[in-house]
């Protein structure tokens, strides 16, 4: 007697569609974190370009001031600042997740890394500001 096995088709694996990152809050936060890199890069590039122009032609300083004071540039800077802060905070937190430090038997919480890095960020930003003010 022969027994014949029937093989039925499987439902093939579904590849994720373009809207996958809206499926849950963690994915969305991740996507925003990735998107913030665009603003960080754009702001840095614009800034480097402006410094480069100023350095090669100091006479353009008043022109430079006009550009940075324009409403478009101010709005862009505010948006870029918001995204850069979000970018820094999420990465500071991730540093703590990836490299927790062991103190005794306990591992440090990622929040500690976030806290310490934020303090450093404030100190360094303050120092840089001082440098500019003193340099003036």
């Amino acid at each position: 007697m022969s027994t014949k096995k029937t093989h039925y088709p499987e439902i093939p694996r579904k590849n994720l569609g373009p809207g996958w990152w809206l499926a849950n809050r963690h994915y969305t936060v991740y996507m925003i974190r990735e998107l913030t890199s665009f603003f960080v890069t754009a702001f840095s590039l614009i800034y480097i370009y402006q410094v480069y122009r100023l350095a090669s032609n100091p006479g353009t300083y008043s022109q430079y001031l006009d550009t940075v004071r324009s409403p478009a540039m101010i709005s862009f800077s505010i948006v870029a600042l918001g995204f850069t802060l979000f970018h820094s905070v999420t990465w500071f937190y991730l540093i703590g997740k990836i490299q927790p430090i062991k103190i005794g038997r306990k591992k440090t919480s990622p929040l500690l890394a976030l806290g310490i890095n934020t303090v450093f960020l404030v100190i360094i930003s303050f120092a840089v500001l001082q440098l500019f003010i003193v340099g003036k």
């Binding site: 029937t6 039925y8 088709p9 499987e10 439902i11 093939p12 694996r13 579904k14 590849n15 994720l16 996958w20 990152w21 499926a23 849950n24 963690h26 994915y27 991740y30 990735e34 991730l94 997740k97 990836i98």
Partner: protein
């Protein structure tokens, strides 16, 4: 104990009857200690014997009862019904895998990846049993202990969008297990495993979404294992780049 009734919506796929998957609703009695798996068992025993799903231990050890519960990968034996009181409850097969029947998915892809990372201790030379066991300190054990708790339930693969987008990605559990051995002081298999974990579809595909670690029911942190593997690989890079094998492969070879 007080009994309530819940309606569960279960994804069905019965290729012998119909090509199209569909949802079926069941009313199940539940108490405070009823888990989703109990509900499925109740349905199978009392209402509909055709329902197919996997389970074995009923206590979060065997890793076979995973399903997407309201879109989130969970062990059905560790998910209580009362948590969904007043909400709808939809049970679907684990995402990112082909479906064989109802809640049963095909996990061949993972089984291949698991074998690929050689999840066992590799020694250059086995020492004879008379020489005794390979000793390990508590500190050395700590380095990999959490990663050895993986039960291969594959919730992490169902939660990982990178795997969802690219089936070839080695993925969270396989890397966590690879790292479990790489970090084991008794193991000498780094050379054999590095080409696999640092392959183009290996750890470098991971972009730190971290959902694998969120859904893991055993407290394993696969995202951490992946990043640690990246760090080890980056530290090895200069050595491998300057190794005679690499140099031989990339330098022009005279008249050849």
């Amino acid at each position: 104990m007080e009994t309530d009734t819940a309606t569960i919506r279960v994804a069905r796929y019965r290729p012998e009857k119909s090509e199209k998957p569909y949802f079926q609703e069941y009313k199940v009695p539940y108490r405070k200690d009823t888990v989703v798996l109990d509900a499925l068992n109740q349905v199978k025993a009392e209402q509909d014997g055709t329902l197919a799903y996997r389970w074995s231990c009923r206590m979060g050890v065997c890793g076979s009862c995973g399903a997407n519960v309201n879109g989130v990968p969970k062990l059905t034996c560790a998910t209580f019904l009362h948590e969904f009181k007043g909400k709808s409850l939809t049970i679907e097969p684990l995402a990112n895998f082909p479906v064989i029947k109802d809640l049963v998915v095909n996990i061949d892809d993972f089984m291949e990846k698991l074998l690929k990372v050689k999840p066992w201790i590799i020694r250059d030379k086995q020492s004879p049993p008379e020489e005794g066991e390979y000793k390990q300190s508590g500190k050395e054990l700590d380095r990999y202990a959490q990663f050895s708790s993986c039960i291969n339930c594959l919730l992490c693969y169902a939660a990982c969008p990178i795997y969802g987008l690219n089936e070839d990605f080695l993925g969270p559990a396989a890397t966590a297990l690879a790292y479990r051995y790489i970090a084991d002081s008794r193991d000498q298999g780094k050379k054999a495993r590095f080409p696999i974990v640092h392959d183009l579809e290996g750890v470098w595909e991971c972009t730190l979404i971290g959902e694998c670690s969120v859904v893991c029911p055993k407290g394993v942190d696969p995202m951490l294992a992946i990043q640690k593997t990246k760090i080890l690989g980056a530290m090895e890079a200069p050595k491998t780049m300057l190794s005679p094998e690499t140099l031989k492969a990339i330098l022009p070879r005279g008249g050849e």
